[in-house]
């Protein structure tokens, strides 16, 4: 038995333990749940020091001596001032001095708030611009978008030349206009559902509101479907781990004396 086999076997046992909750509540599951939590917390502490604090703070504060391949780097003592500011965060547990915890929180909030205007525009600006879609056709010569690929001599599909593609992609055919109208109705109706500033009255507004609710429900349905697929992917991966990575590639190898 080698280290690789022991490692994969430990993973397989942990998988069995965590899935055992599906049968019923048991101490085998509880034990591994606590092992997992402890490992995750312990690992994160070490990783934060090794990958983050040591590289980004400790070395920058104390500097680094010259080596055969790197020049000396001078330390920068003001990094030490971050320690008391960070420690102030723990005063959140003190009834008397919890005002001190608001200092680091305030710094973080200030940094975050200052970024929000540009962040908002970079997130939603292109989406607002992308929502401006033409709803009036500019070419009635045909209803649908023409094929953008043709079959070559071998029978395989080949895209049209770029200039022809550009013309097609810039033309609003009636079918494109209908799609854009559907998009616009969905956008406006879904937005109308979130009008809370005044009472929604009248046939048009309540109708739009109802359409908006239906559109949202369809959206949530699609998101839920994606979530189900994602969860299945996780189960499939665990089964692959147990039966292929552990069973086929490791257990059979060890049993076969490999």
């Amino acid at each position: 038995m080698d280290y690789a086999f022991l490692k994969v076997t430990a993973g397989a046992i942990a998988t069995f333990a965590l899935y055992s909750i599906l049968f019923k509540e048991n101490s085998f599951y509880r034990f591994f749940e606590h092992v997992f939590l402890g490992l995750a917390a312990g690992y994160s502490m070490v990783a934060i020091w090794q990958d983050t604090l040591y590289e980004n703070w400790w070395l920058k504060m104390f500097g680094q001596p010259a080596t055969a391949t790197a020049t000396e780097v001078a330390g920068y003592w003001p990094y030490a001032l971050l320690v008391p500011i960070g420690l102030m965060g723990y005063f959140v547990f003190s009834k008397k001095n919890n005002w001190m915890s608001r200092i680091p929180i305030g710094i973080l909030l200030g940094l975050w708030s200052g970024q929000q205007i540009t962040n908002w525009w970079r997130t939603f600006g292109p989406q607002i611009l992308g929502s401006m879609k033409p709803i009036i056709p500019n070419d009635f010569s045909r209803f649908t978008v023409p094929a953008q690929s043709v079959r070559d001599a071998s029978g395989a599909l080949t895209p049209l030349p770029p200039d022809q593609l550009e013309i097609i992609q810039n033309t609003v055919y009636p079918s494109v206009a209908i799609s854009n109208v559907v998009f616009l109705v969905t956008l406006l109706s879904a937005m109308s559902y979130f009008i809370f500033s005044y009472e929604v009255k009248g046939k048009f507004m309540t109708g739009l509101n109802t359409v908006g609710r239906w559109m949202l429900m369809m959206g949530f349905g699609a998101i839920f479907g994606n979530t189900v697929m994602a969860r299945f992917a996780l189960v499939i991966d665990r089964m692959a781990y147990v039966f292929i990575e552990w069973g086929q590639q490791n257990l059979l190898r060890v049993l076969g004396g490999g």
């Binding site: 599906l22 934060i48 020049t71 908002w120 997130t123 992308g130 996780l234 189960v235």
Partner: protein
Amino acid sequence: MSIAERMMNVDRRILYMILAVVVSGALFIPVNIPATPDDSSAGVYVGLSEIPQDKVLLIQSDWTLSTRGENLGHFEALLRVVMGQNRKFVLYSLADPQAPQVARDALRVLNAERKDRGLEPYILGQDYLDLGFFPNAENTAQAMGSNLRNLWANRKTKSPNGEIDIWQSPVLQGVSKIEDIGALVVVTASNTIDIAIQRLSDKVTIICMCTGVTGPTVLPYFSTGQLKGLAIGLKGVYDMELLMTYGMNDPASGENKITNPKYGVAPKLENSNTYGRGRQYYGALHGALALIILAIVLGNVAMLTAKKAEAA
């Protein structure tokens, strides 16, 4: 108890067992399920192929073992493309301290794969950099956009020539700011793609590979061009594997050619494994979905039958 009532009262553990059997069985029979790569997945493959060869990639690996079923497939497909095209890359994480290690483990497996094919493995400090985990994703991304040199100042890396400053490494030659980067590829299971879009989308091309759960909320970014490409969930992995195998609009693939008029030619990947977890898991996913649809149909039929019998 009637059959309908029995069907509605099936022990859930039996359903779990059937699911495990169906999924496990399908894993041992990898099948090529016919599929057309989505526009968004094609954007990932074509986007990566269009990046000039001398440009370095930033790979932001923000996933851990909790989403291994999807993100490991994404990460492996991404690295197969990147390594198959002999590109240099910088690896780092913003979401979780555990994320760098799972990425290193995956990279080790892919390096072994290259060795088996007689190719040179990727070497730390020479072909790629591993910068580990940066906490506070928002401010780190902001700092990357403002002054990349300052953010990564004085960081060291192991290399074939001993420990060196990362800026002396061949990986970062020609890079002084984020605009010098070929593309930022975010492999994520969380909202770190939103953070990247908010802070870096006007400075660097962004490509995303995300889980099925986050996919629908990220998709608008692709529709508006904020993302060059987006591979979502297991379908995204399978799409990438198809594109690696046949390329995009690549005449060399003959009658198997994948065609999409929205994109130019992106050649298929030579000298690399192109099928991986996508092909292995995709059949099992179909089995699981067929099972859940069957269970929903049977459950409803049983409920209606029981109601009818009750009314009679």
